[in-house]
Amino acid sequence: MMINPYRSTSKWLAVVPVLMMLVFVVAPVSNIFITSLNIESFAIIARQTTRNTVWFTTWQAIVSTILVLLFALPIAAITANFEFFGRRALISLISVPFILPTVVVGAAFLELLPSTIHRSALAIIIAHIYFNFGLVVRLVSTRWQQIHPHLDDVARTLGASRTRLFLTVTLPLLKKSLLSAGLLVFLMCFTSYGVVRILGGPARSTIETEIYFRAMQLGDVSGALILSILQLIVVAILISLIMQFSRAKSAEFAQTVYSRIRKPQNSAQTLIVTLVAVTSTLVVILPLISVVRRSILVGQQINFSIWRSIFTDAEIFKSLTTSLRYAVFTVVISTTIGLLGACATVYGSRRYKFVNLLTALPVVVSAVTLGLGLIITFDVDPIDWRGAWLMMPVAHCLVAVPIVMRIISPTIRDLPNGLRDASQTLGATTWQIWRTVDLRIIQPALVTAAAIACAVSLGEFGASSFLVRRNNETLPLTISRLLARPGEIIQARAYAIATLLIVACIAIVGLVDHLGTNKRGI
């Protein structure tokens, strides 16, 4: 009965994102499976080394997830319930690790942790906790704030102590968001690549690093594919579970944030809030400080020449400009294509749900498998693009588009249809409605998506390790290469580059949170 002003445009909006995914994801991934997979390679599953890799990947992901949840819960509790000095800054700060390039996190813990636990499972788990806890705090804290404070009052007046209140009311209401956040963290740790390559060493490999090792070092592409199928199945199951929980959550909670947040009521609460806030701040900044410190220290002497050298060394300067060029390309292309995809799925009928699924493929397939598919497929005439400069930024876009779409889509979906109706009755054409209502309201989400796409490109390591050529090395690849070489000065240069990336990520989180607090109205 309703007239949707955009419905007829959905098919045109979907063309570019669908083509992009078909050409750069579906075709290369199908191609490697068709051309390189052989039945004999399935024997790899029975090998002890493979079983060890799968077992290690699984248990480190489970332990990391449990520890991330335990560490994040108290921080989510104080940010969801208490007003205190620096609350907003703390929320921004704990988001920084999640968008830091994985190689930077790896490098930070290589510097911070004692050398006795380098190349160990413990180092990997610690880095995974650091990398993911901010994500859990954000997800759980948001849900916690949606629990009506009157429910606490009801439980208290019915005789529940604070502990009983938490166990019988708060925790059950948070259960689904904790599960969904836990699954997301498990997914991140299960498919971890950069952190494991830097901190794991040859003895500690996950499925993702093993795919790289088999394909690039041993030349066993077929074996690598079997592993990537294994990973793909696990990831697909995890993603479908996460989507199921997200749907259940939205049905259960109103999209309202109640005024739960209050000042600590007594000295015990003040003490707990202070302790948790100070600890979490230290946890975030200590690894970052260790990176900065290492970038100016050579043999216990402060030496700023390292910093001069990263701008004068031709190779490093080249990778800096390459990273910036690719970041600009990724921001422009992935934001545009992500916007088109988001509009097509939200404005279109149910038929357009396939665009959503298709654009999630780069996440399901994993960056390493994607990189492998791209170099094998685009290495033959007439599409010999393997050496083309465009290949790596295209890979960055493929990783960024699903994220961009998932940032923009909820804002478009939540936009009340009544605003478009009002605009229409005031004389706006379809294009004018989109330009003056939709675009204006989604602007902050669009800038957020562009900023995150920039972070994705600056930190992308998985697909880039396959596509790198001598003349197109990006900053994370340079860090990884320099860290693998001996010499204090050379390694200090890697840390100076890592510092640059940290500054960029802090600026991006600052921008995103600034936009989040300044947007008007809805």
């Binding site: 009965m1 309703m2 007239i3 009340p416 009544g418 605003l419 109706d421 009002a422 605009s423 229409q424 009755t425 005031l426 004389g427 706006a428 054409t429 004018q432 003056t436 209502v437 204006r440 309201i441 008007r520 109205g521 809805i522």
Partner: protein, 211 residues
């Protein structure tokens, strides 16, 4: 004048409007009453061009507008929940339709100031709409619709949710304003008393349908 003939509207196989016919003369204010779910809002949305009709015709000043897009109909609609644009302030909300017509900024400012004075809120032009009270938001929604100079104004329960004092005051102001400007109006309401005070004619939507 506005005339709807034998309108039929269905929603998921349920008949919402069944052979509905209505005639409203130029400058007339008609109140439309009826129980919840009787199709009052649906009728307004059909007239405005925001809902599909299965059959029937709509004529405005002799021209058939049944399939004409909403933005070309010159029919204003004040929504029950106002639907003020949250990304625009009060003056920008009111100026919205004028800007679409690419009217010069000076003239836009004059018209906005004039209509704001008319609804008694001249002092709020720069205020963000999320900071308006219920009554203020309602007046701004009416002002936004009026400034576009619609041939017909549709009011969908414009006074619901307001406290009694504000309701009485706004009812009187709105009635005076519409009569002053001679705006053809359909006013949907649950409140028989409100309907009687505001309108030249009161119609029950159930009596407009032929089963």
């Amino acid at each position: 004048m506005l005339e709807c003939r034998n309108l039929v509207v269905t929603y998921e196989s349920t008949m919402v409007l069944e052979n509905l016919s209505i005639y409203i003369g130029t400058g007339e204010i008609v109140a439309l009453t009826g129980p919840s779910g009787a199709g009052k809002t649906t009728l307004l949305r059909c007239i405005a061009g925001l809902a599909k009709i299965v059959s029937g015709t709509i004529h405005l000043n002799g021209e058939e507008i049944t399939t004409k897009p909403a933005h070309l109909r010159c029919i204003g609609l004040v929504f029950q929940d106002n639907q003020l644009f949250p990304h625009l302030n009060v003056a920008e909300n009111i100026a919205y339709s004028l800007r679409l017509q690419r009217i010069k900024q000076k003239l836009v400012d004059e018209k906005v100031a004039e209509v704001l004075e008319l609804v008694g809120l001249g002092h709020l032009s720069r205020r963000e709409v999320i900071k308006l009270s219920g009554g203020e938001a309602k007046r701004i929604a009416v002002a936004r619709a009026l400034v576009a100079q619609p041939k017909v104004l549709l009011l969908d329960e414009p006074l619901s949710g307001l406290d009694k004092e504000l309701h009485t005051r706004l009812l009187e102001d709105l009635g005076n304003l519409l009569r002053l400007r001679g705006t053809t109006t359909i006013h949907v309401t649950h409140d028989q008393d409100e309907a009687a005070k505001m309108a030249d004619r009161v119609l029950d939507i159930r009596n407009l349908m032929q089963h």
